[in-house]
Symmetry: C2
Subunit: 403 residues, 2 copies
């Protein structure tokens, strides 16, 4: 018998409880031993809920019970979640979590404690919800050097952009709708400003490149400035606007950024709609691969946490492999990153545009008058900035291109 | 030091040799020990090629060397490949392979020998080339009950259908082009008649459902009858024709089939073009997930075999987990499977169609006269057959629908 404890009985925590109960038989069969939830920690009561039998209110009950070898953190935040996870690891328990904020902030420290105790700290569900991207990086792409990860890592913003695209509505309108549906929180900042995606790409890059990428250093831009006119331009270009979290390694360094991109239809991320997430990976031998699925939601996320629990249950007294080290990855200046840019300008003659940016086609749409857009040649972002500065406030907006 | 041997220095074998050499440093680092190729078996000579140093012509050299703990089979076929793999496993060596024919035919027996010796028989590259789908099934979806797998598992036929769709050419024409490009073999039967995809879905279903699915019992239909008119109808329906290998579990049984399908744009497989492969999986907790990548090609396939080698090197003396048992999975009769069908008919009045199939919309295209198509309501394939029989030779063709 292997005993697990779940910290928190909210959306994810109750989902884990449900997954382990519903699929108990097949999980026990796969493990060749019984896996049971001994405790669920929550301050609230849940009268009539099956969790009642195992509900506790004091973390010390879990911490001091040597039978509990696996702790699944599902409280969220980086306050008590951090304290409890750290204590559990220090007490020689294995821990898994879906909490990207905790992993991005304290992952290095928590992984080192786990290693020093010969235990595991796993976080499959922290990036891409149910998509098994972390296990793919740790256990499948082991013969490859990964040189790019680009993903749609936030379901809320993908839903919003997809709605703007299919229904032609404004950002504010679609945000209200997303909030009404429970996809966006009352304070949507973490989603719409890209902070959530930023923490996830920092985690994935750390795993893929084997060095610690600090999320605080990742250039991050959200989707709040995207307008129906941008969407109309995207359609004219045969592209879709998606909030991408992307990083690329070159030699011993990498860049990482979160920003809206105009994605071309040759890119597998082009077809990712609704609240889905997808992660594109390029390996030096594997070439292109993509992993797609539910990026959030109670059961998909709980499925991924439960898979961590099952993997830990099969390897209780070892530290499962991950390339992530505490060595810091030096990030390239974003101004040094090369790309193409879609730029909208107002009151600029074609001669002037071409004098500044070189030969280009002008793109107009019916929806807005007195302006046009164009796509630049590939150039460094720093060079783009300098050129754009020459046009001053006549630049309406810029969105990056992703082929 | 861990030693591996590669059987065969053709496309895949030379690819494995290249992957392990190119990424030697990072692989050694990940393993915490050196992994080297001690022998490559091939009857030919390769003057000037780095393989010369390790080239041998006699399998017994490999078999009798106790230092060789991993054998990667890359010869293809089920003759010598089977004999050598069996001998290697019986001698207590671990084996991995990319050979779907070998796995579909002898997988049960070879896995049992491996288990009895406490060794592993892995075959990540046998389905979906570089896509890490088998490791996802074995190691990631461990808290789920998988109830559907549907995939584009053959790159050659996907390329052909995509070319017919984008260039409007005939099957025979696009086959010649695929052969000229090296995508299709001189005898393309295994690809275009669906036999290759059939073996792969049998393997994936066996892994996902934990019982042995015999590929010989899988209903299999190829793409040779697909015409430009079918493609035109597909466009009219907003769909794409793809050769899908699909299986679905219901209770203790499942069905499995390979056939062209009209895929709707809400399905993530809709966007899979060119020679790419993709595998859709539905888990009872995870929901929808999809894995996408290069289904064939030297380096992607070799990357997956090499990942097997790395995993084995980390677990030399244990039998790595897989749900696949020797217990036989009873397959549902294909006539009992429910679906919708797109049917083309000639010389049938709307009244007669509606009398036989019930209410439906008639679809016409400019490309063909004197006929129309329609989509049936959901019904069992057996019922469809009975109804179609009432129209006799006036049924031009039928393609299944996939939403």
């Amino acid at each position: 018998m292997v005993y697990a404890a779940i910290l928190g009985y909210g959306t994810v925590g109750s989902g884990i409880f449900e997954v382990l109960r519903t699929n108990q038989k097949i999980i026990d069969q796969r493990l060749g031993k019984a896996l049971r939830v001994k405790y669920v920690l929550d301050l609230r009561e849940f009268p009539g809920d099956p969790v009642e039998e195992v509900l506790v209110h004091d973390f010390d009950t879990i911490l001091s019970d040597p039978e509990v070898e696996i702790v699944a953190e599902a409280m969220g935040g980086i306050g008590a979640a951090y304290t409890f996870v750290k204590k559990a690891l220090e007490a020689g328990k294995n821990v898994c979590t879906s909490n990207e904020a905790l992993v991005a902030e304290y992952g290095v420290e928590l992984m080192e404690i786990a290693r020093s105790k010969n235990r595991s700290f796993l976080f499959e569900a922290s990036c891409g919800g149910g998509i098994p991207i972390i296990r793919a990086l740790n256990e499948s792409l082991t013969a490859d050097v990964v040189d790019e990860i680009s993903g749609i890592l936030n379901g809320t913003t993908n839903y919003m952009l997809w709605k703007m695209e299919t229904e032609g509505c404004e950002f504010a309108e679609v945000l209200k709708e997303a909030q009404a549906k429970g996809y966006a929180e009352a304070d949507p900042t973490a989603d719409v400003e890209g902070h959530d995606a930023c923490r996830k790409i920092a985690i994935l890059s750390s795993l893929a490149y084997g060095k610690f990428v600090n999320y605080k250093e990742v250039y991050t831009e959200g989707i709040t400035k995207i307008t129906p006119a941008d969407i109309a331009y995207a359609k004219k270009l045969g592209r879709k606007i998606r909030l991408l979290a992307t990083s690329r390694r070159t030699g011993d360094t990498c860049y990482a950024m979160v920003s809206p991109f105009l994605v071309g239809d040759g890119n597998p991320l082009y077809g990712v709609n609704d609240v889905f997430n997808a992660i594109f990976v390029h390996g030096n031998m594997l070439g292109d691969a993509m992993f797609y699925g539910s990026g959030a939601g109670k059961l998909p996320t709980a499925s991924a946490v439960s898979a961590d629990i099952v993997e830990i249950a099969a390897h209780l007294h070892e530290s499962l492999r991950s390339d992530w080290t505490s060595e810091k990855m030096p990030l390239q200046e974003i101004d040094q990153v090369t790309g193409r840019f879609f730029v909208r300008v107002k009151g600029v003659s074609d001669e002037e545009i071409r004098a500044v940016f070189g030969p280009t086609d002008l793109i107009t749409i019916e929806e807005v008058e007195d302006e046009y857009g164009f796509v630049t040649m590939p150039m460094k972002q720093g060079d783009y900035k300098n050129k754009a500065a020459m046009l001053g406030s006549r630049v309406v907006s810029m969105i990056r291109m992703k082929d």
